[in-house]
């Protein structure tokens, strides 16, 4: 019976992964990402159920709740936390785009109840915008991955310029320039033709 070492469950292992990721172990990212995605998706789903009247997700609160749910706060440093936000950004992007695509499917008559014509047309616009943005970000990443990342951190999880700079290991000034360039380029890409 030697070696019976009691341990805190789930969270502790996730925290371990995060700490290892922060320590440069990239292989754990593949493992950690689905966990972050899944948790974020569940929390988003729940918020939509409970706050339907407000129609708001509260980006910062949403990501932070996910973080609290998954991670043992006492063991992580800023660098680890930043890694978490990087993953959360990727996950959030995927979630929003999945919903947007689902909206498209509903509009085309999928699902049990097709969307009626009276539905808000701005929603269609939003859905199209998100799908287009997703595709454009892939193209942007092919040209300069960092620009795409800056958008991902700023836009999808609401990191500040300072936080983004820290996470990417560049100066705040660089982040500001990247953010400007990316927004400019994306606005051109997404401009209605």
């Amino acid at each position: 019976m030697e070696g019976v070492t009691p341990t805190a469950p789930g969270e502790e292992s996730i925290t371990d992964l995060l700490v290892r990721l922060g320590g440069g172990d990239r292989a754990v990212e593949d493992r950690l990402y689905p966990l972050v995605y899944e948790q974020l998706r569940r929390i988003a789903h729940r918020r939509l159920q409970s706050e339907r009247s407000g129609h708001t997700l509260g980006t910062t609160g949403l990501v932070h709740e996910t973080y609290l749910k998954l991670v043992d706060q006492t063991r992580v440093e800023w660098r680890d936390r930043a890694q978490f936000y990087a993953l959360a950004a990727r996950a959030m992007r995927r979630i929003l785009v999945d919903y947007a695509r689902r909206y498209g499917a509903l509009r085309r008559g999928g699902g049990l109840r097709p969307i009626t014509l009276s539905e808000d047309t701005s929603l269609t616009e939003r859905a199209d915008h998100l799908v287009a943005l997703d595709e454009a970000l892939d193209r942007l990443a092919a040209m300069n991955a960092r620009l795409s990342q800056v958008v991902q951190y700023r836009y999808f999880v609401g990191l500040t310029e300072e936080e983004t700079a820290e996470l990417l290991g560049v100066t705040v000034r660089t982040v500001q320039r990247d953010w400007a360039k990316a927004r400019g380029w994306l606005s051109l890409e997404l401009r209605p033709t």
Binding site: P6, L35, L96, L123, A127, M143, F156
Partner: protein
């Protein structure tokens, strides 16, 4: 859209960076000054610069905010309204939302019944391989178990994946915990056992749940039901896009095992981990880490928080429960319980244990010795509910030497003790941040300050003491104190060394402290009072190592039982006699009894000085070996009392009561234990009492706790024989055939278990059925692979004998005698005696007077200790077979006088058909009547 080729993009960016470095007003002229630039490039740069200027609030609103109304609309749209149909099911109303699916109450139109329909969230199932999902789900539909919620149907309609289950009235465990916070221990055990049974059954079919949590456990009238078996796997498999891109991890982090989080290979023990988390939550109202995290945040601590102790969150929980749950939550699967049944049983046992606090007398005496008690100790329990006894503060020792040169010794000692406590890996050393002296002072006085300090540190234990000079030596005294009560949790043997070499004393005390703390906190050490303890950490480790060698196993004899570890533990610390006592207690064979006697002989000079429990247990062992049954009972009772009524001692005593015919006493002591082992024993006891209904209830309880156990299954069959329910007997026999053999672990095979049932059938007048079952037992033997048959010739011979195949039985016995190597049967003597007894029985049945005489003389000439009347009983057997009732009765009485416990082997004389001629014979009936109490034998 004109995405620029990447080669040029770098150029574009460089120029834009330069432009952006300028003040906005100067940018217009920037391109003018760079006339040399390629016009196409310049145009691109200009276009982008303009876009940057004009981008305004583009992407300023965050993505989630922007998407929220869209998401809400999708969620609303995908909500299924009452009256809508999904396949053949009409939705009545929504019952709830889970992470994976929404569940609806629906009407099954085809079968006209209520069902629960679960619809996988559509945004989740986008891109699912539908076929994969449905195929996985169909596999699960084959699972059948009373505590698994079955799957009726599954399918896909309009891109929605759904599956259908019976609708159960009742709460989910989640609702129950939310409402009541904590559940009563009885109920926790019931739910854990139900879920564990469901898991064990699924695991045997190779199905792992992967998402055990309170939401998936339904509390129905007939017990707990586990829902969503295999759904997690189905979702994971359906979302996978090839081996390099695994699917979503459908599980709930809070309940996930470490290996599931890590993506390692999973087996059933992963579910057991999750069940451990659920059990923790049922007992305390919160999952294990939530408490740790919250307190850690509030306290602003930076170190790893240990899992909170159950007892810290709920008072009145026996310490053993902490250990059992901690084992289920072990990080490595191999450290957890091997099956759900074993976890549930351990939990039940631990909750049923009566905890006796270490006597106040000892605690006070040691405290007085240390000269530290100045105030009255009292505490308010509720204020300290969050203290974790496994968090230990090490306080610097008080220096009473008056020697400045020795003043640094206390610091060195605290340092060495901290490393020692870390080494044992059972506690966490808390850094008091300079507050150690205050903690010590406060702990000594039991004042309010102790509570405040300890609470701040979350430390439930303080390790501290003092040191002083006595002549030319320096002495250390120490104890582990419970901060909460100020009492000694565990005394530590003091240490002394010459003043010239004080570090020797430091190292000695370190050893003592490690041993004491390990003994106190190790979850696998049962609470035992008035017993010896190791004062040396290596001795503790050896003692613990024996546990891993299967000392509890049925077949266990000598070295393979961990005796070597026990012997080494004693050799390392000769004051630690408990391991020797445990070896002595296993002397149920002549070889074992020789060992028992040699141990008693070795300890004789110290006998009267041994701790109360150990002395009584040794006395009982010796008396048992010599057939002094009255003495054995008295001593076993004394050990049970002195040891604080431990479960182990209670089981031993209960078995002893039954073996001697004190059935009511056995029932009284075994019933409250509520363990599988006790249940199995109670079946036999009630059977002997002729109370077959009760026997059946306990057989079922034993079976539930350990479904794969042939002994409990056969008990069930035998109780039904007593009740005349032959159809049920047949059912149990079928179940026995399906159970795994477990011969290694329990020493019981299907053939042996069948023969017990047959013997009972015979005893209750069903001789035709009995013959049939014997034949099936023999057929089972012959169906085994050759090498297995060779190994188990003894059972074959025995069943042949019982089935009445005398000639064949004789041939097999003679074959065994001729080929047996004396060394491979553990204890050759006992089998040789058994073989002679069989030959005698065969001769008696065949009417071979010469052979009978030979065997009878051989048995009568057996001399020496440890025979406890067994050869005499074998002689009685031959007389009974021949119908010589008077001689048989005389010999039975002689056997009992020589120490034979009438119910030694299982049911013993009760239903042995060899004694058939005595049934109804008044002296025999008088003899086998249940005894009133131990005083009356």
């Amino acid at each position: 859209m004109g995405a620029s080729p990447a080669v040029r993009w770098e150029e574009v960016e460089r120029l834009i960076d330069e432009a952006l470095a300028l003040a906005p007003d100067d940018r217009g002229g920037f391109l003018e000054q760079n006339r040399s630039i390629d016009p196409a490039l310049a145009a691109e740069v200009e276009r982008l610069l303009r876009a940057i200027d004009e981008s305004g609030d583009f992407l300023v609103e965050s993505g989630p905010e922007y998407a929220a109304p869209l998401l809400a609309q999708v969620a609303e749209q995908d909500r299924i309204l009452p009256g809508q149909r999904i396949g053949g099911y009409e939705v009545v109303r929504e019952l709830g939302q889970g992470g994976m699916a929404t569940v609806y109450l629906a009407h099954d139109l085809r079968h006209d019944r209520k069902v629960a329909v679960k619809v996988v969230h559509p945004e989740l199932s986008r891109g699912f391989r539908t076929e994969q999902f449905l195929a996985e789900i169909r596999t699960m539909a084959r699972l059948q178990h009373p505590h698994i919620l079955p799957l009726h149907d599954s399918g896909e309609v309009d891109g929605l994946l759904f599956y259908v289950m019976p609708y159960i009235e009742g709460d989910t465990l989640r609702q129950r915990i939310d409402r009541d916070t904590r559940l009563e221990p009885d109920e926790v055990v019931r739910i854990t056992r139900d879920v564990a049974g469901a898991l064990d059954s699924a695991h045997r079919h190779g199905v792992i749940h992967r998402d055990i949590k309170p939401e998936n456990i339904l509390l129905a009238e007939g017990g707990a039901l586990v829902a969503d078996f295999g759904i997690a796997l189905a979702i994971s498999a359906a979302s996978a896009r090839g081996p390099s891109q695994p699917g979503w991890i459908a599980g709930t982090p809070r309940y996930m095992s470490p290996e599931q989080v890590e993506g390692g290979a999973l087996d059933g023990r992963s579910d057991l981990y999750a069940l451990g988390v659920v059990t923790f939550e049922m007992l305390t109202g919160q999952p294990p880490s939530a408490g740790a995290t919250v307190t850690a945040i509030l306290a602003g601590r930076a170190e790893v928080a240990p899992p909170p102790s159950l007892r810290a969150l709920r008072t009145g929980i026996p310490p053993a429960v902490d250990a059992v749950v901690a084992q289920a939550l072990a990080r490595r699967p191999e450290d957890r319980h091997p099956s759900g049944g074993e976890f549930a049983e351990a939990l039940q046992r631990s909750l049923a244990v009566r905890r006796f606090s270490r006597t106040a007398v000892i605690a006070t005496a040691v405290l007085l010795l240390s000269g530290a008690v100045t105030g009255r100790m009292y505490y308010k329990r509720h204020q300290l509910a969050a203290l974790d006894p496994k968090r230990v503060v090490i306080a610097p020792f008080a220096d009473h030497t008056g020697d400045v040169a020795l003043s640094r010794l206390g610091v060195l000692l605290a340092d060495r003790l901290a490393s020692g406590m870390t080494d044992i890996q059972l506690v966490q050393v808390v850094d008091a941040g300079g507050a150690e002296a205050k903690v010590r002072e406060a702990a000594a006085q039991g004042s309010g300050g102790a509570r405040a300090l300890a609470e701040g540190l979350g430390a439930g234990s303080v390790l501290w003491g003092s040191y002083y000079r006595r002549g030319d030596s320096i002495e250390f005294e120490a104890q582990l104190t419970d901060t909460r009560s100020g009492r000694i949790a565990e005394p530590i043997v003091s240490a002394a060394a010459p003043v010239s070499d004080p570090t020797a004393a430091v190292e000695l005390l370190r050893q003592h402290a490690m041993a004491a703390a390990a003994w106190h906190f190790a979850p696998w050490i049962e609470e035992l009072e008035n017993s010896s303890r190791p004062s040396n950490y290596e001795a503790f480790r050896e003692f613990s190592a024996a546990d891993g060698v299967g000392q509890a196993s049925w077949n266990c004899r000598f070295a393979e039982c961990g005796y070597d570890h026990w012997r080494r533990a004693y050799a390392l610390d000769t004051n630690f006699v408990l391991p020797l006592i445990l070896i002595a207690g296993r002397g149920d064979t002549p070889g074992g009894c020789r060992l028992t006697d040699s141990i008693a002989e070795a300890l004789r000079p110290r006998h009267d000085l041994l701790p109360g429990h150990d002395r009584a247990a040794l006395d009982a062992a010796v008396a048992g070996c010599h057939g002094e049954r009255r003495l054995q009972l008295t001593a076993a009772e004394e050990a049970f009392q002195a040891g604080g009524k431990s479960v182990g001692d209670a089981l031993d005593l209960g078995e002893l009561y039954t073996a001697n015919g004190f059935f009511r006493d056995a029932v009284a002591i075994l019933t409250p234990l509520d363990s599988a082992t006790a249940a199995a024993q109670l079946v036999i006891t009630y059977h002997l009492l002729g109370e077959y209904e009760k026997a059946l209830v306990w057989a079922q309880a034993a079976h539930r706790a350990d479904p794969d156990n042939l002994v409990t299954l056969s008990c069930q069959a035998r109780a039904n024989v007593g009740l005349g329910r032959l159809a049920k007997v047949e059912e149990a026999l079928e179940a026995m055939l399906k159970a795994s053999t477990n011969a290694e672990k329990r020493g019981v095979t299907q053939a042996l278990a069948f023969s017990w049932v047959a013997r009972d059938l015979d005893a209750h007048g069903y001789s035709a059925q009995a013959r049939d079952v014997y034949e099936r037992a023999l057929a089972w033997c012959r169906s085994r692979p050759r090498e297995e048959q060779e190994k188990d010739q003894k059972t074959y011979a025995l069943v042949l004998y019982q089935a009445g195949h005398w000639e064949k039985a004789r041939a097999v016995v003679q074959h065994i005698i001729a080929t047996a190597a004396p060394s491979d049967s553990g204890d050759p003597l006992i089998w040789f005696r058994g073989a002679q007894s069989l030959l005698g029985g065969i001769a008696a049945h065949l009417g071979d007077q010469r052979e009978m005489d030979r065997v009878d003389q051989w048995l009568a000439s057996r001399k020496g200790p440890y025979l406890i009347g067994v050869p005499t009983l074998d002689r009685a057997r031959m007389a009974a077979i021949r119908g010589d009732r008077e001689r048989a009765m005389t010999l039975i009485r002689l056997a009992v006088d020589q120490g034979y416990p009438p119910y030694l082997q299982d049911l013993g004389l009760h239903d042995d058909p060899d004694f058939k001629s005595l049934w109804g014979y008044p002296p025999f009936e008088e003899f086998r009547k249940p005894k009133e109490s131990p005083g009356g034998s």
